[in-house]
């Protein structure tokens, strides 16, 4: 038994540390995972987009997983990786925001502060060989300042004008690097994001045709209901695929 001091209000309680001595209490591999998140700044704020799939290995098991959530008044967070760890992260962040709200002092935590808090959590967990198996994108606006940052399970974090996790880094970022502009309107930003989402849909096997877009501006947050994109499969190569194959299969 040891005394542990709470980080939030300084109260002290007893904690049984026997559990952390047994090395079986560690994250070894993820079970239910989400795939890429795409995030980018636009003229009025920040946009995040993802699909709503929760894969169980190679099975597309859950088709309505909300992977983008609001944190306080100024921040949106999108997660890829282990969904249960994302739920745990949301619990930490909701608690952080609640304590911040209870001060009732006219100030509230912005995206930069939330990102920093999250960095600490992720990095400290990795140092204990017990990571939260996620790659997260945090976007927000506070007092006109737009912010977009990312952090992952090993604690690496950085900010940029457009970000992605997982496959998005390889498939979406190149598109964003050539076509992103500082002054995109919301409609233009959505078109650009949909272009990236479509590529991910075609090429990432863990993605499904059910997407969610969320935007955050100084006025507030909106997480739009899920919708599907139009896909085209009429390419000539897909017609009669075994035409040129000698023999079977």
């Amino acid at each position: 038994m040891e005394l542990q001091r709470s980080m939030v209000d300084g109260s002290v309680c007893m904690k049984d540390s026997a559990k952390s001595e047994i090395s079986s209490e560690r994250t070894l591999y993820p079970y239910v995972t989400g795939t890429s998140i795409i995030g980018m700044k636009y003229k009025d704020g920040v946009i995040l987009a993802s699909d709503t799939a929760g894969s169980y290995g190679s099975t597309l098991r859950y088709k309505s997983v909300e992977r983008i959530k609001q944190v306080g008044d100024h921040t949106l967070i999108g997660a890829s990786g282990e969904i249960s760890d994302f739920q745990e992260i949301m619990r930490y962040l909701d608690e952080l925001i609640l304590y911040d709200k209870m001060w009732d002092d006219g100030n509230s935590l912005g995206p930069k502060e939330v990102h920093n808090y999250l960095n600490r959590i992720m990095y400290n967990r990795r140092n204990k060989f017990n990571p939260l198996w996620n790659s997260l994108v945090l976007g927000g606006v506070k007092k006109g300042q737009k912010y977009l940052g990312t952090v992952n399970m090993i604690g690496t974090h950085y900010e940029d004008d457009h970000l992605a996790t997982g496959f998005g880094n390889h498939l979406a970022r190149p598109i964003l690097r050539s076509e992103w502009r500082e002054d995109l309107t919301f409609e233009e930003a959505v078109k650009l994001i949909e272009k990236c989402l479509l590529v991910l849909l075609y090429r990432d096997r863990s993605s499904i045709n059910k997407f969610q877009i969320a935007k955050i501006t100084d006025e507030g947050t909106t997480i739009f209901p899920p919708y599907a994109l139009k896909t085209f499969w009429g390419f000539s190569h897909f017609q009669n695929p075994s035409k040129g194959a000698a023999g079977t299969w």
């Binding site: 709470s6 209000d9 300084g10 109260s11 619990r91 608690e95 609640l98 304590y99 709200k101 209870m102 009732d104």
Partner: protein, 249 residues
């Protein structure tokens, strides 16, 4: 009723021959000597008001908060020793977040009042702890509607329509009883509480005071928050006007 405890008042674990625990009664005196604290239950919510006596002109307005949010839906107004009050507030916050962590819903106000009362009572049971020198008025809005509780240093807690503690409690209680609380909205209640506090403030004994008002009601989205500045100013103006009317008579 000024009976001297001689001998039976040295410890909180000693009863007097006539069945009183003097230490608890002395603790209540600390509450009786503090600035007035009022709580009322209106038709659509709770209003809490505190007469914050200012001991020095150097104090910044808005500091030394006497009303604290305990969770999104409830708040605590403290009368008596402010430092003791902070301890109770910290404990109440911890109980509220603990309950939500375990049961997944915000703590019912009745449950919160029970826990705060138990904690206050706890400190009257051991000779190595002293009773809290503060009383607390707890107001919250859960799915059973708005509720108001008062917890005294003895650990007694009752549910009220209107409650008052501190210097001007007798006069305040008389004023509250005159109000038709069941027909009043919180907006109107805020004005009434301001009038009462200005009314019971003793100009001769204590010079300056700051009025602190908070509410939980339908208008505030069932969240506990400081009364918005424009309504606060409206209430103060109305209260000062009512005072002048009384003086003019």
């Amino acid at each position: 009723m000024s009976s001297i405890g001689t001998g039976y008042d040295l410890s909180v674990t000693t009863f007097s021959p006539d069945g009183r625990v003097f230490q608890i009664e002395y603790a209540a005196k600390a509450v009786d000597n503090s600035g007035t604290v009022i709580g009322i239950k209106c038709k659509d919510g709770i209003v809490l008001g505190v007469e914050k006596l200012i001991s020095s002109k150097m104090m910044l307005a808005g500091s030394n908060r006497r009303i604290h949010s305990v969770h999104r839906h409830s708040g605590l107004a403290v009368a008596g020793l402010a430092a003791d009050g902070r301890q109770i507030v910290a404990r109440a916050k911890s109980e509220a977040t603990n309950y939500e962590k375990t049961y997944g819903e915000p703590i019912p106000v009745k449950e919160l009042a029970d826990r705060v009362a138990s904690y206050v009572h706890l400190c009257t049971l051991y000779w190595w702890l002293r009773p809290f020198g503060c009383g607390v008025i707890l107001g919250g809005y859960d799915r059973d509607g708005p509720q108001l509780y008062m917890v005294e240093p003895s650990g007694i807690s009752y549910r009220y329509f209107g409650a008052a503690m501190g210097k001007g409690r007798q006069a305040a209680k008389t004023e509250i009883e005159k109000l038709k609380l069941s027909e009043m909205t919180c907006r109107e209640g805020v004005i009434e509480v301001a009038k009462i506090i200005y009314g019971v403030h003793d100009e001769a004994k204590d010079k300056a005071f700051e009025l602190e008002l908070s509410w939980v009601c339908d208008e505030s989205n069932r969240q506990h928050q400081k009364v918005p500045d424009d309504l606060l100013n409206e209430a103060i103006t109305a209260a000062k006007a009512a005072l002048e009317e009384m003086d003019a008579d």
